[in-house]
Amino acid sequence: MIGRTAEYAGLVAVLALLVVLFGALSDHFLTSITFTTLANQIPALTVIAVGMTLVLIAGGIDLSVGSVMALGSAVLARALVEAHLPLPVAMALCLFTGLAAGAVNGFISVRWTIPSFIVTLGMLEVARGGAYLVTQSRSVFVGAAMGPLGMPLASIGLSPAFLVALLVVASGQILLSMTVLGRHIFAVGGNAEAARLSGINPGRVLLSVFAISGLLAGLGGIFHIAYLESADPNSGIGLELSAIAAVVIGGTSLMGGRGSVISSFLGVLIIAVLQSGLAQIGATEPAKRIVTGAVIVSAVILDAYRRRVVSNAVVSIQS
């Protein structure tokens, strides 16, 4: 537990650096509106990154999250606009769609021991096709039917969706560090064979993390519509890459066995500040791409460097 605060310090430093930088480049960046707007933009990416963190720690990967989010939001929009179902029912359908897609990912990859990379790549296609089918490839306007979930609360400027996303982050971290399933996720990702020998059922653990990831992609779909007021069947293309980038910036290992949900959330914040700040200073298209790529890699390098310093410190304390 020595490294816990230090673990976050590196990411917080990167975040602070970006904020200060954009603050210097724009007269209007360092305002409370900037940060509340930013917070209200990220609930979908945040919860999806939480799911992705669990999957990566367990040694898998989920490439389907963007498509599953689009499929979930498509189902939700159609259920509201065409079938006129009550909002809670439509939301439940959206969550169920995500859960089912995630469970299928997990089941196939466990049952036939197929790498999750390829199974979820398949689901990326299938779910995207499903989203096109459900919406007939048309944006569906939902409007006020979604209620106040994505609207900022007048008192604090933050949306209920963002608060729910924070809750999901907290629950995800508690699941990882305080529950049996959490310990098993680390064990399976660290060494599946050793985990099996110690009596853990790796299949069940993998199935759980993929189901959770799918469920959270569905939740992301709800947030997405609540925020944008309409379901776009092309939404979330490439979202899996943003989520993976955020999670890896947060120090979660692509090889499994190591990671933290809170760090992933800091990774999400870094990506969001970057996107928002670059738009606000009016960066050109090439500049946006080059800077984003460079920051992602630099953050990971910084993190690797900090990790070495911390582990050296731990070693010298112990010796």
């Binding site: 707007t37 933009q41 490839s137 048309r138 944006s139 994505g150 944008l228 606000q280």
Partner: protein, 320 residues
């Protein structure tokens, strides 16, 4: 290790597939022979995952169904709008099937010219719709391909001019551009800019949201913070207008900042009614491919000489 009982069935499935493919080749070969029957027209689109092109393709299919004795239609689209290689391959496939005419919405105004030139040399009629092929490249390739479609620049100008009447000289606006390399995107941006300049309105920023709702939302939110005095967002398509409108609502500026779009998609209707989006342009997406097909049929019958043909763009506001 364990031999699957399925493997024999797999072999059968493969055999069946091979037979089917041979049969398909055969029938393609038969159809290749010139017949007096209906003409065969290939419609090569951009992404059929995009609402606009779906509308276009649906319009074409309905038209074909009503004119089944005149022509048959093969509709193909590419995976995403920037997949040039796939569209080139599609054109080659259509050439191999020796269709009578290709009606194409090119994914790029230059990269498709060489393969279309090849099709022309093979005697296939080619009609360009949606995204206009680059004139200089066509000249270099030594071919002329007629363009049948709307004037995006004039359409955007009309929308922006209607918006300008709602604003006053010196007001500030932001333009959301499409994919900057696309001819449509450039034309619409130019149309917006010209109308704003004529009205003495100040364009404080032009940023690309790549036709996307999500990105348009992020950029609009940032622009509203950076330029709090902005009065309107000019989005080069309705999808981006949707994203802009939701950002305006989030910033609690509905009524203070207005939006215009382009395309008149179904999802924008309610926003126009509510006054959150002031105007959009209808380029009759459902008729765009049909205009091209009708023109190709005319050329096939030798009724006209190839030349560009302009199709209508209408201004849509709440009052209309």
């Amino acid at each position: 290790m364990n031999t699957h009982p399925l493997s024999r069935r797999d072999v059968h499935i493969w055999l069946a597939l091979v037979v089917l493919m041979l049969a398909a080749c055969n029938s393609a070969g038969e159809r290749a022979a010139p017949t007096a029957g209906p003409r065969r027209i290939a419609l090569v689109m951009k992404s059929l995952a995009n609402e606009f092109f779906v509308t276009m393709a649906d319009g074409a299919k309905a038209h074909q169904a009503a004119n089944a004795s005149t022509y048959t239609l093969i509709v193909n689209g590419i995976r995403n709008e920037s997949d040039l290689a796939q569209q080139v391959a599609l054109v080659e496939q259509m050439m191999a099937q020796t269709v009578d005419a290709i009606v194409i919405a090119p994914a790029d105004s230059r990269a498709l010219v060489p393969v279309l030139a090849k099709a022309r040399r093979q005697g296939i009629i080619v009609v360009n719709i949606d995204n206009k092929l680059d004139a200089a490249t066509l000249k270099d390739a030594g071919i002329a391909i007629p363009f049948v479609g709307p004037d995006n620049r004039a359409g955007a100008h009309t929308v922006a001019a209607a918006l300008a009447k709602q604003l006053k000289r010196g007001d500030k606006v932001v333009i959301l551009e499409g994919i900057p390399t696309a001819f449509n995107a450039q034309q619409r941006r130019l149309g917006f800019e010209e109308a704003m300049k004529e009205a003495g309105i100040d364009v404080v920023a032009v940023q690309s949201a790549h036709w996307e709702q999500d990105e348009a939302n992020t950029i609009t939110a940032a622009m509203l913070r950076e330029h709090p005095e902005v009065k309107a967002i000019l989005a080069s398509n309705d999808n981006m207008a949707l994203g802009a409108a939701s950002a305006i609502r989030q910033a609690n500026k509905t009524g203070q900042v207005t939006v215009v779009g382009f395309d008149n998609i179904a999802a924008i209707q309610q926003l126009i009614k509510d006054g959150r989006v002031f105007a959009t342009a209808d380029q009759h997406g459902d008729r765009l491919a049909v205009f091209g097909i009708e023109y190709a049929l005319k050329l096939l019958r030798g009724e006209t000489q190839p030349q560009d043909l302009q199709t209508p763009v209408d201004l849509i506001t709440a009052s209309k």
